[in-house]
């Protein structure tokens, strides 16, 4: 055991590093590995089309709920369209829409495209606060020049005072 340091203190320190390093390495490795699979990207419809997001891959899409596009069927399914004014996606969702879901307002849905191009949402995100505009959506609309709301981001992007 001559390659070990002589002093007990140094030996103990070596031991601590020898135990801590693999645990940390596993932790870091695991998180980076998982990030490749489990991170969910956010796109607006036009970005998703440009990136050719493959069907079946979990993403979030966000935009405005197109007016008059919401149809609710008896079996619990809801269809609506999400638009960023450059492109529009049909979204299908089975379940109760969040209480703040409204036509003409911002929405974020998590799910995947089906082969026929319909976005099947597993989750339509609810926000508890009173601003009906998710941050990603207002940022994306501002970037593409489609933002028509107030400068504070709190107003509705459809322009009118749409507080229901």
């Amino acid at each position: 055991m001559s390659f070990l340091p002589k002093s007990r203190k140094a030996r103990r320190r070596l031991m601590a590093v020898a135990v801590a390093a693999p645990i940390l390495a596993i932790g870091v490795g695991l998180s980076l590995y998982a990030m490749g699979d489990a991170a969910v990207f956010f796109y607006t419809p036009v970005q998703a089309h440009q990136k050719h997001v493959p069907s079946g891959r979990t993403i979030r899409i966000g935009g405005l709920v197109e007016k008059g596009s919401v149809s609710k069927s008896g079996d619990g399914r809801v269809m609506f369209a999400v638009t960023d004014r450059l492109a529009t996606d049909k979204v299908e969702f089975k379940g109760d829409l969040p209480d703040l879901f409204r036509e003409g307002q911002g929405v974020v849905a998590q799910g995947a495209y089906r082969d026929d191009g319909v976005f099947v949402a597993r989750e339509v995100l609810a926000k508890h606060d009173e601003k009906y505009m998710p941050k990603e959506v207002s940022d994306a609309l501002k970037k593409s020049g489609q933002w028509r709301g107030g400068p504070d981001g709190g107003a509705s992007a459809s322009g009118g005072s749409q507080r229901p």
Binding site: A20, S31, A34, R60, D96, L97, K127
Partner: protein
């Protein structure tokens, strides 16, 4: 008038915390008892004035004084009294006031109960606590003042978000904040010890009760919040790995690590630097949480009181407080004397392993929470990191540490006999294997993960009981001897057993609920039914009802199962003051399992009105919340152990002196 009194008290508290810090540091510097006493008096006065401000705000809410901007924005005359009071901490300004109340409260508690502390350490702790108070009271008084008046008072207030009008959410913030802010005392103790340059067993003994109290309160706070999300949001889930949840979870993990490392420092004098580091880290994570939740920098399902401008000030506070703490640590920590040596296989060794895993887990939660921020800043591409990522990274790490846990408790200090520990655990191992295979065969789970979870839960509970049995020499000694030993066991060891059983109970609940949940959703007309698991739910009636500040559609759902018929009444409430609809879930408990029914919106199906009914069968869901409550109870029992109480040493000394005189 009351609002002005509150505003005045708040500014006074701000000034007093400056006095608290000044007198305390001066008292330490000149070793002057009068100055030290003045510092302690100022700490008490800071608490009194902050409490005055807090109750003044409460009076404004109770009397619905809408000339106060904060009341007008968050209250309404129709609201029940409980929610008028809860609205005090329902907004950004009010919640910061609650934070300050907890902060000054803990400072004053150190002044009152810390009689046994060395004078220098005590003064420095109270002084640092005063500095923290100065920063946070200053923030509240200057940029987040809840007492600002409106030029024209509205006739009616905007009311509190109805989703927050819930008894559990009313008591959730006080617990959560006491937990968050409780770590400030540990932070102050750590800074004081670094200034004094001495961290020894006595220091760890003084710090441990504070860490234990803060951690137990935080546990209760998180559990209440999770239970609220479970039954109020109506999604059937209880933990979403949402940034706001993670913000509370990071200090919890670090706090759990701190509890264990403080034991090592107390019993063996080892790892003083690491314990101090965790003490600094726990409150830094608390402050990071306060920033993340309020700045709106991360998209969260329950972001709260979002205000980016003030968020950046909070970030500044975090940077200054945590930054100076860690700089002091980098400067002074090398001077700390490292104590007791120990072999790798020993109680200390096991606790070091526990700490490594818990700290890595906290690091992972932080990575997952902040990664979207960094990624978006670097590439401009927004993304989110959700439950799948945390299930892949956090869960396996925790599984390993929980697997080691029962063995760790069986090891003795300094140098242990690993083989002996394994022998003592054979019964627990058998129980775990039995539960795992039983789970595979009986619970009809789809994945092996549920079986692993069951085995792990069984292992933890049986392991904790085996440790207790070993301590009282059950079976090795006569029963009367075992009972006598049981009576004389210190409460702290009961606390440990209970907390570890709580971990096992939680693991059982979480694995069974996650893998055994059954879900059904269907739009039904009156008379039609939905099938979920062994239950048939028939919508038998829909009625309109009037609440105090809402109107609701109430569905009457007949639940038919082998054991007969029962009725559930879920509601869908509309709050006119907020123009918002909220579901009121109906939950029927079957032992530890829940039948969970959500009454959805009205739809037309084949010309008939119908309602969307979502139903979940959540097996063993109650264990998910019961487990953490057991952990917190374990913490409270440990805390009641006379050995841990601060004044105990003084009392023991007094008796010794009295004994010597007699």
């Amino acid at each position: 008038m009351i609002a002005e009194l509150g505003a005045f008290a708040l500014v006074l508290a701000f000034a007093l915390s400056a006095a608290q810090a000044g007198f305390s540091f001066a008292g330490r510097y000149w070793r002057n008892a009068a100055l030290r006493g003045a510092g302690e008096g100022a700490a008490l006065a800071t608490l009194l004035t902050t409490a005055t401000a807090f109750f003044a705000l409460m009076v404004c809410f109770i009397t619905s004084d809408f000339s106060v901007a904060n009341v007008a924005a968050n209250s309404h005359t129709d609201k029940p009294l409980l929610y008028k009071i809860a609205a005090v901490w329902g907004s950004h300004e009010g919640s910061m006031l609650l934070w300050n109340l907890a902060l000054t409260g803990f400072g004053a508690t150190v002044a009152i109960w810390g009689r046994d502390l060395p004078a220098g350490l005590k003064s420095l702790t109270i002084g640092v606590q005063g500095l923290l108070g100065l920063v946070f009271l200053g923030y509240t008084a200057l940029v987040s003042n809840p007492f600002l008046r409106l030029a024209v008072a509205p006739v009616e207030g905007a009311s509190l978000n109805p989703i927050l009008q819930d008894p559990f959410l009313a008591i959730h913030p006080p617990f959560l904040y006491s937990g968050y802010v409780g770590f400030s005392v540990v932070f102050s103790f750590a800074i004081a010890a670094l200034i004094e340059g001495r961290v020894d067993a006595a220091w760890a003994r003084w710090v441990r009760p504070w860490a234990l109290a803060a951690w137990s309160l935080l546990t209760v706070g998180i559990t209440l919040g999770s239970f609220w999300a479970y039954y109020e949001l109506g999604w059937g889930g209880w933990w979403f790995w949402d940034p706001v949840e993670n913000a509370s979870f990071m200090p919890w993990l670090v706090g759990a690590a701190l509890l264990h490392s403080a034991i090592v420092t107390e019993k063996r004098g080892a790892m003083p630097g690491w314990t101090v580091f965790l003490g600094l880290l726990a409150f830094s994570f608390s402050m990071l949480g306060a920033f993340l939740v309020r700045s709106g920098i991360l998209t969260s399902v329950h972001a709260f009181a979002v205000d980016p401008k003030r968020g950046s000030i909070l970030l500044g506070i975090l940077a200054v407080a945590a930054g100076s703490g860690f700089s002091l640590f980098a400067w002074r920590a090398p001077m700390l004397k490292a104590g007791g040596l120990f072999a790798p296989v020993s109680r200390e060794g096991a606790l070091v392993l526990n700490n490594l895993f818990l700290a890595t887990a906290a690091l992972i939660v932080m990575t997952g929470t902040l990664y979207p921020l960094g990624y978006q800043a670097a590439t401009g591409q927004p993304l989110s990191v959700g439950a799948p990522w945390f299930n892949l990274t956090f869960a396996p790490l925790m599984a390993v540490v929980l697997f080691i846990l029962p063995a760790g408790t069986m090891l003795s200090w300094k140098r242990a006999d690993a083989l002996g520990a394994v022998q003592r655990l054979w019964a627990a191992g058998l129980a775990a294997v039995a539960m795992g295979t039983g789970g595979l065969l009986l619970v009809q789970t789809k994945t092996a993960f549920a079986a692993i979870g069951l085995a792990l839960g069984g292992w933890l509970i049986a392991g904790a009981l085996a440790e207790l049995a070993f301590r009282v020499r059950l079976g090795k000694a006569p029963l009367t001897e075992s009972l006598r030993r049981l009576r004389h066991l210190p409460r702290a060891s009961f606390g440990m057993t209970l907390a570890h059983i709580g971990v096992g109970v939680f693991v059982l609940g979480a694995s069974v609920e996650t893998h055994g949940r059954i879900e059904a959703a269907r739009a039904v007309a009156v008379g039609e039914s939905v099938q979920v698991g062994q239950f048939t739910l028939t919508l038998s009636d829909v009625a309109s009802v009037e609440g105090p500040n809402y109107t609701a559609e109430r569905g009457t759902v007949r639940v038919t199962s082998a054991s007969g018929d029962t009725f559930l009444k879920p509601e869908r409430r509309f709050y006119p003051a907020n123009r918002q609809t909220v579901s009121q879930v109906a939950i029927q408990s079957h032992g530890p399992s829940d039948l969970y029914v959500v009454f959805g919106e009205r739809r037309e199906a084949q010309g008939k009105p119908s309602w969307l009914i979502r139903a979940y069968w959540n097996p063993w869901a109650r264990l998910i919340f019961g487990g953490p409550l057991l952990m917190a109870l374990g913490g409270a029992i440990s805390l009641s152990d006379p050995r841990l109480r601060l004044a105990a040493g003084a009392r023991a000394r007094a008796t010794a002196i009295a004994g010597a005189k007699a």
